[in-house]
């Protein structure tokens, strides 16, 4: 299986959801938790969220904007957008295969 560019260990799924959440605009930590809980049903604990944010920031896929009331909103970078697109394409391929095989079965 080719590398999907999002190999962050146990933070891979969390990171994908964060990138997806930031795809429609910048958000700070708590807004990220709420948004991800809304569209995926998964509510992250803050320790896990900031472990993933640290990784995404160090990779240059997200960037922290000017702090507002102690909270930094995070924004997707172009590199982060590219990784997200690539990841979505991979997931789409997996979904297609899954649907096809289930239909055959």
């Amino acid at each position: 299986m080719p590398s999907n560019g999002l190999e962050l260990g146990r933070f891979t799924d969390v990171s994908l959801l964060i990138l997806l959440s930031l795809a429609n605009g910048s958000k700070h930590g708590y807004a990220l938790i709420e948004d991800i809980a809304h569209f995926s049903g998964t509510r992250f604990e803050p320790g896990t969220l900031y472990g993933a944010l640290m990784r995404l920031e160090s990779k240059g896929w997200i960037v922290a904007l000017q702090a507002q009331d102690r909270r930094h909103p995070y924004q997707l970078t172009q590199a982060g957008m590219d990784v997200l697109r690539q990841q979505m394409a991979t997931l789409q391929q997996i979904v297609d295969v899954g649907v096809q095989r289930l239909a055959i079965g």
Partner: protein, 222 residues
């Protein structure tokens, strides 16, 4: 038990614990994320799992220093702290080594054995020499670090950096206090029981003399 803990502990208590756990994160991480994380915690429902997750996050941050901002400063600080700890530990070890070397075996069991087998004496001498050289080497290597830490702490008024340097002093005080106490206890209790008997005779002393305090106290009288 766990349910009762949840009931008794309101969010305020959990928030205090959460803030306390944040101290376990690396300094560089705290400077960058701590304020933000606290603001999230103030809005987020906090449970025991949240606290465990924070602890796991602290461990993760320590295990991945390359992800932290200002990595070089963090690594330098980490190396410096490790060197101070090793330095202090070896000073403590050196103090104990000198104390142990000052102890003379009152039962004289060791002497005939050493006389019968000179190799044992030689091995003991080699060990002592190696320990001395190692101690000297560590002092030579550690003194520049010591001065560096002192200069940095005084220049930047970061007194917390000096806290580790108190370890050798505290260790030395403890050893001296222990020796004095043991010596006093021996003088008050043991000597009057057998004031005229030969103190080195093997059968004259209770088994407790073989433990650490009594021989030390005994030898400190010479």
């Amino acid at each position: 038990m766990q349910k009762r803990f949840f009931k008794q502990s309101g969010k305020g208590n959990f928030l205090i614990w959460a803030r306390w756990i944040l101290r376990f994160y690396p300094l560089a991480w705290r400077k960058r994320y701590a304020d933000e994380l606290v603001s999230v915690l103030q809005e987020h429902p906090i449970s025991l799992w949240t606290l465990l997750d924070l602890l796991r996050g602290a461990l993760d941050a320590h295990l991945h220093p390359d992800l932290l901002p200002k990595e070089i400063i963090t690594m330098t600080a980490r190396i410096r702290t490790s060197e101070i700890v090793i330095f202090c530990t070896f000073i403590l070890f050196g103090c104990l080594w000198f104390v142990v070397n000052g102890v003379r075996d009152p039962l004289s069991v060791w002497e005939p054995t050493v006389q019968a087998h000179p190799a044992i004496s030689l091995a003991d001498s080699v060990l002592n020499a190696a320990m001395g050289i190692a101690l000297l080497g560590l002092i030579v290597g550690g003194v520049p670090i010591l001065f560096g830490v002192l200069r940095h702490a005084f220049q930047n008024r970061q007194w917390r950096q000096l806290s580790l340097l108190s370890v050798p002093l505290v260790a030395l005080l403890l050893i001296v206090s222990y020796g004095l106490l043991a010596s006093g206890a021996w003088t008050q209790k043991t000597i009057p029981q057998n004031p005229n008997g030969p103190i080195d005779a093997p059968g004259d002393h209770p088994p407790v003399r073989l433990s650490a305090p009594a021989p030390c106290g005994y030898c400190w009288q010479y």
